[in-house]
Point group: C6
Chain length 261, copies 6
């Protein structure tokens, strides 16, 4: 029976692994206790869903600033779960769909998940799924109502489901009552200076002695905290003219920073 | 005639019993006078509908915070009624439907009920049935108007109907004129400290001596009152690593509480 | 010609009498001058439409709090009129219809009425016909515009029509310009203490000596005035455990009052 | 050519005369200079359209309180014009139509008029044509835009058109820019005391000596000014029990006034 | 090639000349420097489009109070241009169309113009094209977006286009960003007293000596400035009873002024 | 493989070059460091996308006042890129389309781009693509949501994409969350006095000695800074009557400036 269930969900699974990887282009770079704790908590949830008979459904939402690493953390947790059904619900695959079509597709993913004994569904960028925009404000109530129901709906007897949502608009989630339907909410912050130091060390693109000054420059030109994704993009840009194997100079770094902000 | 009526509604009845049970996964744990009184009042209503010739229609709404046990109380009352027709109207079975389709389905349930001599209909999570969201605010006026009429509409001569609604948005109900169409409104509160003690004793997961401190920790980390469903979820999570038969330690309990809030 | 007109409208008439009765389950209990005067005024209108050649159209709206007896008074007046065409326009028979369908049905009733020499149409619960809800506020402008026109439209030469509307939202009616299209507006109030005494005496469910105290309890627990329908429901509930022929005790009465409010 | 044009529009004309009469059930009762002047001004417009070569299009709007006699004045002017094409555009004949259908019908009337050498179109109760309601506010912009264009659009070479609009919502007309498209706007007031005296004398329903007191009673119970239509309705009601040929007593009059307000 | 282009657009041209004339029923009466300057500026634009190779597209909007002569000035400039393609885009020919249909028709006119070597398009009464109404405010965003694009869109290589818009709602134009897409905006004012004197002299309807007093009366009864169209209408009305060849008396003039305002 | 990809996108490419040129009718006139820096930054982005393996997607938005040269800068960068796929997404080619059709077309362009190894897409006048208007405000959420997703969506493995947006409503972009999805935002300002001097020198239309005074006149009549496009249009107009080879006089210049503002 379990076998057959596995069989049934394979094709969906196949496509999804690639999707998960696309969220992990830079992998998960170790950057201190905050992120380690986030990863551990997520893996406890995975365990809980797998083991406990009384929690067939668990839902957690990762919220934090744009680019802080929410989608990557969700994807990594899903990948590590080894659950037979893993699926990312993302607006990227539904661009241009009507709200009804989007809602149907989301419901379809949940109904596919119910067929698998163990499933994880990532609701990526929930405000985007909802077609939210602050002017108005506007959003798709059709999709919102579907999510409000789906996140609370128990999978059928003997089936288990972990739901991981991500959002950079926690206040919007709250005003829509969406936070309330998730069992737990975790904050994914932008990087503090000490965490940036760790990332730069790991990436080995500056001479070790330059790293504090590099971080210093970054937080002077920008703000005190910097989201992971922004940091990685800027490094990439600065490394442009640098030959392989060579380190990035502080001059080049400062130049790029000034140019882009 | 009564027999035939019973016959007619059986299939509907059959499916519904399972539904009722799905609202009662943890049963009804005794936790003091407030909840006992709620249960008694509901059973008086059941009796009144069954016995009195002059009250063919009674409607009651259970309102209270998220997770306080409203749906479970409604389901228990319906189950104990032994009425031949019991049906839960829930948005869970209508995810993704258009508002017209939802309204039709709700009307259909009432019209099915009118065929049975004795019926109970649970309107679960009324704000969700209405697709309500505070931003805007938005909701389905089609469904609202249907409910405003259905809750007041007399069943045909010789047929009797009990309607139990649940909601965690009492103020919304009022501003929509929905409270006015229900004959009675009952408040289902979150658990006070003494009530949590009763629940923990009943569940027997802490050493008896630890229970006051366990409740203390809970209300310190959280708020003074805790909804039943939240308490049960957290216990489940804390019990995760605890072996069967063993009690939960206060350390593990505190750890889980801090992690999740 | 009159005969044929009668013939033509018979089926409609047939169904309607039952409807009228369903608004009069407790009959019209005598409760003092205010209600007597309301009944008399309505019967004068009936007479005026029947007799005068210069008033082929008269319209009156009964407004007052929820449950004050508006629909019953309208139904009683219609029943006593003995007009060959009597019809109640109520949202109860149109639950789930689109606003266009509701408007069409309402227009249809008026056009049927124009075929009868003498007609009375009850527009019951006008705010419900309009699908009104205070949040927004929202309502069906299609239906509103139809009503604004229909209530003022003259029946064809030689035909006469009395329109009786009911509403518990007089201020809404005014802000919609609906009051202005009715010729007369009458207020149906909730019962004062002396009127409640009359009702309790008539129903003979308390010992005569207990009645003042019963009313006293009621207005203490509730408000100073109580709508007729609420009073009748609570009496019904209190009488539940009382054996036939026996009077209701003040203790039982107080218990029920406390339980339900 | 003129003959053929007359031929062409005859059927429309035929139906319209009846409609005009239905606005004149009580005729035009003489009641002083204000109304005489209104009638004269309207007849000057009729003359101007008929005679002048340089004014092929004239538009006038009659505005004033509900029931002041606007429609009757418009109908009388149209009837006296003896123009071969006279048509009333009224929401009464379009109840339940969609706004598009209403707009089309209105446009149709104008296009029919363009075929006649001399036409008069009455736009009766413009706010009702626009489906206006103060809550919102809401109205049909489709119909409004059609009117804004139609009232300014020149009839084809050699054809002439007089447009008479009526409205009891002058401020709404202004905020919609509708007043600006009419060439002239005339105010039709409710009756002052001296005008009511004239009306009562004309109708001869009170003893001459009673008339001042009758008017006095009316303005005491009501407001200082009373619209023509309201006065006529109340007289009709008061006359109910009075035998033919007999005068109305001041007692009966006072009774009716108190009953209805 | 030019010949063929001319051929192609002829039918459209044919109909349009009549349209242009219908905007010029009273011709362009000389009334001083302001209007002369407006006419000269417009003719410079015509020249610029015709001669310069670097300005294939020029757009100008005429804004001013209702009736100030905007449409007439636009029509005169178009007529004098002798461009092979002249077209007026006016809501008059599109009454009752859906906003999509209107937008399509407007786009069609521009695409027809692109086929002619030299074209002028008049966008008459832009707020009416947009179905604008201040309540709400409401307007057709479909049409607005089309205009915002069309007014800036270059005609194809070797083709040239002059766009003349008219509007009496300059502030609305601005808040919609429409002013910004026109290259130039010109103000067409109502007539000052000295300009009115010039018009009255030209029309020769008063004795020369009466003209100052006639203007005086006009600005006393009305406002200090009077739009051209209003002045012409009132003169027409006053001349009604005056025999051909005779002058208008100041008495008759005053009477008409008082009657109409 | 690369060859085939080139083949595949050729037709699209062909049409686009013409489009790019239409944005460069006046070419890029050198006018100082600000604009030079903008051009250099854009060409760095082109390089980055071409060379770096880790940045398959780069997005930059050019924002600045109307007519400052945003579209020209974007077009020049795209033209210089020599990428096999270059496409401008502009509302000019979609006038009158429904918002769904526009969204589909935009998505189509992105999906075509994904087939080319190297692509550049210009999203020209984003507020126009969004059908934005300040009144309301209104805009197409369908198109907005598509853009929010498309600008962040990674092209498939081995394909690279540069996105250049332009807008004159930076604040609107921000309130819609659109700025956040672009990697970088660059400001394109209106010309300062020294920059205007450079442009006038380059165009050689004034005697060298007159240039300072010409700029002086311009900034006196207008504002301190003037957008490139406006400056070029006015020069064109002033040059109208000037014979080829001759310089523009300051008198003629002043006259034109006064006439048009
Ligand atoms: N410790 C880490 N945690 C999260 N992401 C990391 C970490 N180390 C490296 N990354 C990389 O950082 C990037 C984080 O981007 P990601 O898309 O997950 O952010 P996000 O918060 O979802 O952004 P957005 O708000 O735009 O959705 C990924 O490419 C990921 O591989
Ligand atoms: N005394 C009790 N009363 C109610 N529920 C109880 C009680 N004891 C245990 N429970 C359990 O608590 C849970 C209450 O959850 P339930 O879904 O009824 O809450 P709810 O108020 O309907 O929540 P929501 O606001 O999310 O709809 C159920 O699983 C039920 O079995
Ligand atoms: N004197 C009376 N006047 C009106 N109703 C009476 C009277 N005496 C008894 N009744 C009973 O009281 C009830 C009044 O209820 P009814 O539905 O008419 O009130 P309502 O004002 O229409 O309520 P709602 O606002 O809910 O529409 C009816 O059952 C009627 O039979
Ligand atoms: N001098 C008069 N002027 C106008 N109407 C008169 C006059 N004398 C008698 N009447 C009668 O008064 C009535 C006026 O009603 P009418 O429908 O014209 O008013 P109205 O202002 O159009 O009302 P509403 O605002 O409801 O449309 C008609 O029946 C008309 O015959
Ligand atoms: N010097 C003039 N300039 C403009 N119009 C003139 C002039 N002299 C006479 N006219 C006449 O005045 C009238 C002006 O009306 P026109 O419709 O052009 O005004 P408008 O400003 O477009 O009005 P609206 O705001 O209603 O569109 C025309 O009939 C025109 O022939
Ligand atoms: N240095 C320059 N930078 C930009 N444009 C220039 C420059 N020199 C000359 N131009 C010309 O200036 C014009 C700039 O117009 P363009 O349409 O690019 O402005 P825009 O900012 O996109 O305007 P809009 O806000 O209306 O979209 C083009 O014709 C271009 O050829
Ligand atoms: Mg993300
Ligand atoms: Mg519940
Ligand atoms: Mg009622
Ligand atoms: Mg009227
Ligand atoms: Mg005009
Ligand atoms: Mg541009």
């Amino acid at each position: 029976d379990f076998e057959r269930a596995l069989e049934e969900v394979k094709p969906a699974f196949g496509t999804s692994v690639e999707t998960l990887d696309s969220y992990l282009t830079h992998g998960i770079i170790p950057c201190g206790e905050t992120f380690d704790h986030l990863q551990r908590t997520l893996s406890v949830f995975v365990q809980q869903v797998q083991d406990s008979d009384k929690t067939p459904l668990l839902s957690v939402v990762l919220e934090g600033p744009v680019g802080s690493g929410k989608s990557a953390l969700a994807a990594a947790a899903a990948k590590n779960s080894d659950f037979p059904f893993c699926k990312v619900v993302s607006s990227e695959t539904m661009a241009g769909y009507s709200e009804q079509a989007k809602a149907s597709q989301i419901i379809k993913v949940f109904e596919d998940a119910y067929k698998s004994p163990l499933s994880v569904i990532i609701l990526d960028d929930i405000e985007r799924l909802l077609e939210y925009v602050a002017i108005g404000p506007r959003f798709s109530n059709v999709i919102l109502q579907a999510l409000l129901v789906l996140v609370k709906r128990m999978p059928p007897q003997g089936h288990k489901l972990l739901i991981i949502g991500t959002t950079s608009m926690n206040d919007v989630m709250e005003s829509m009552g969406l936070n309330e339907v998730f069992n737990v909410s975790l904050h994914v912050p932008a990087l503090r200076m000490d965490e940036m130091v760790k990332v730069l060390r790991h990436l080995d693109c500056f001479s070790v002695g330059d790293i504090p000054e590099a971080v210093n420059l970054l937080t002077t030109v920008n703000s005190k905290v910097v989201p992971m994704k922004k940091l990685l993009l800027w490094l990439e840009m600065a490394r442009q003219d640098v030959q392989d194997g060579q380190k990035l100079s502080l001059e080049r770094w400062e130049e790029v920073l000034r140019e882009l902000s």
